[in-house]
């Protein structure tokens, strides 16, 4: 920061306010699937943009620690980020706030309103639409893997039902891995029914149906974190991705061993 040191000293209340807002923004980013570098950079820019001299950020898998400095006075605060999901609209909305801060067109009360709006916003797409589109997406995978149109329809139905299972179980606050196992199991069970109703390519449907559960965002963020030097967060994300992938395998193999193992 070229003007660091020349900024006026902040009052205790102002410093508390800034650290709260910056942590809130960081939490929104981390829990919705941003890479550690983006969390670090955004929190830092919000803090310095709102009047701190400097802001240091420590990102961990399930917490953010921030130390903020103003005229020699410093404070540190931790915020836990226990829940992880993927909401890229929230990530891009917080990201845009960062540009408005550096343009000086956003003051702390406005930022608080914006963060409140982002936190309480409804999902961009109704759930049934997402479920149907995910069904079509897994059907598309089936076609890409060489399945015929019967297998496409089978996959689409299986994945859509699987999405509903996942949604209902997540709403009941079941454990993440259990939810994945159950959704993979139900999806695979429906896909395996293709054997009994004479769908020749049903093994392709089995392979394509569970792909909606693949932890794509943690796995990609793992590599982005590794590249930027956030080795520890990257490892946590990799382990999370591995555990979810193993849960998919458990659900799929359970269904397959009940109905008889097919080849591909």
């Amino acid at each position: 920061m070229n003007n660091s040191g020349k900024k006026p000293a902040l009052t205790h209340e102002a410093l508390t306010d800034i650290i709260d807002l910056a942590l809130w923004a960081g939490q929104l980013l981390l829990q919705n699937g941003a890479s550690s570098h983006r969390v670090e950079e955004t929190v830092h820019q919000l803090g310095t943009g709102l009047g701190c001299d400097w802001m240091d950020v420590l990102v961990s898998h399930n917490a953010i620690v921030v130390t903020t400095v103003s005229a020699g006075d410093f404070r540190t605060k931790i915020r836990r980020v226990p829940k992880h999901g993927v909401d890229l609209t929230a990530v891009s909305a917080v990201n845009r706030l960062r540009y408005r801060i550096s343009d000086n067109t956003l003051d702390p009360p406005q930022l608080r309103n914006e963060l409140q709006r982002i936190s309480t916003r409804k999902p961009m797409y109704p759930f049934w639409l997402t479920a149907v589109m995910i069904g079509l997406a897994c059907g598309a995978f089936c076609r890409l893997f060489g399945g015929d149109y019967e297998a496409f329809a089978l996959t689409a139905v299986a994945s859509t039902v699987g999405m509903f299972v996942r949604y209902l179980l997540l709403r009941e606050e079941f454990n993440t891995y259990l939810v994945v196992i159950a959704a993979a199991f139900i999806t695979s069970l429906i896909a395996a029914m293709g054997k009994y109703i004479g769908i020749h390519d049903y093994p392709v449907a089995l392979a394509a149906g569970v792909l909606m559960l693949i932890p794509g965002v943690p796995l990609i963020n793992m590599v982005l974190d590794f590249v930027r030097g956030h080795i520890n967060v990257g490892i946590s994300r990799g382990i999370l991705g591995l555990l979810i992938t193993l849960s998919i395998a458990i659900g799929l193999l359970l269904a397959v061993s009940i109905t008889g193992v097919p080849g591909l």
């Binding site: 950079e41 890229l88 961009m124 897994c138 392979a207 590599v223």
Partner: protein, 160 residues
């Protein structure tokens, strides 16, 4: 012959775009970026298919080429759509996920665990391991491809 080829490639593009769109909805991307997610998903997978099928390039390397193009596309349109580049590139690379390889590896390991006769079970283990390695290679290629634009072009110094 040519018609067949064109149809094959068109279908490849179309289904990849559908897969990318589905996951874009799941990841709750802003509405204004949906079309670009679909486009990047289609183009990336098409590039992979073309390089793999018409050039002597193996699938993992072809995947790297495809995902690198998606990564650059994400950076290119991120500014215009006012989103982080990953909002465009993450749904875009989804169609390249090696579902069949992962499935074959899983089923292979299951069969190996149930097999009791020595030479046959060795063969099962080798096959399953080979599919598992392919899966890991392709998944790594997908993720590294997204990071490549950052490594090569957008090397701006971090503010922190």
């Amino acid at each position: 012959m040519t018609i067949h080829l064109v149809l094959h490639l068109l279908e490849d593009f179309f289904w990849s775009a559908v897969a990318a769109t589905g996951f874009a909805l799941l990841f709750n991307v802003p509405r204004r970026t949906l079309l670009m997610c679909a486009l990047l998903g289609g183009v990336g997978h098409l590039v992979r298919t073309v390089t793999h099928e018409f050039l002597p390039i193996d699938l993992a390397f072809a995947t790297l080429i495809g995902s690198t193009i998606i990564g650059f596309g994400g950076h290119l349109f991120a500014r215009r759509l006012q989103v982080p580049h990953t909002v465009l590139s993450v749904p875009g690379v989804i169609p390249m996920i090696p579902g069949t390889f992962a499935y074959k590896a899983m089923i292979g390991f299951l069969r190996f665990s149930e097999s009791t006769t020595a030479p046959a079970s060795t063969g099962l283990l080798i096959d399953a391991s080979s599919f598992a390695v392919q899966t890991i290679l392709i998944l790594s290629a997908i993720a590294v491809g997204i990071a490549i634009p950052n490594l090569l072009i957008f090397r701006k110094r971090s503010v922190i």
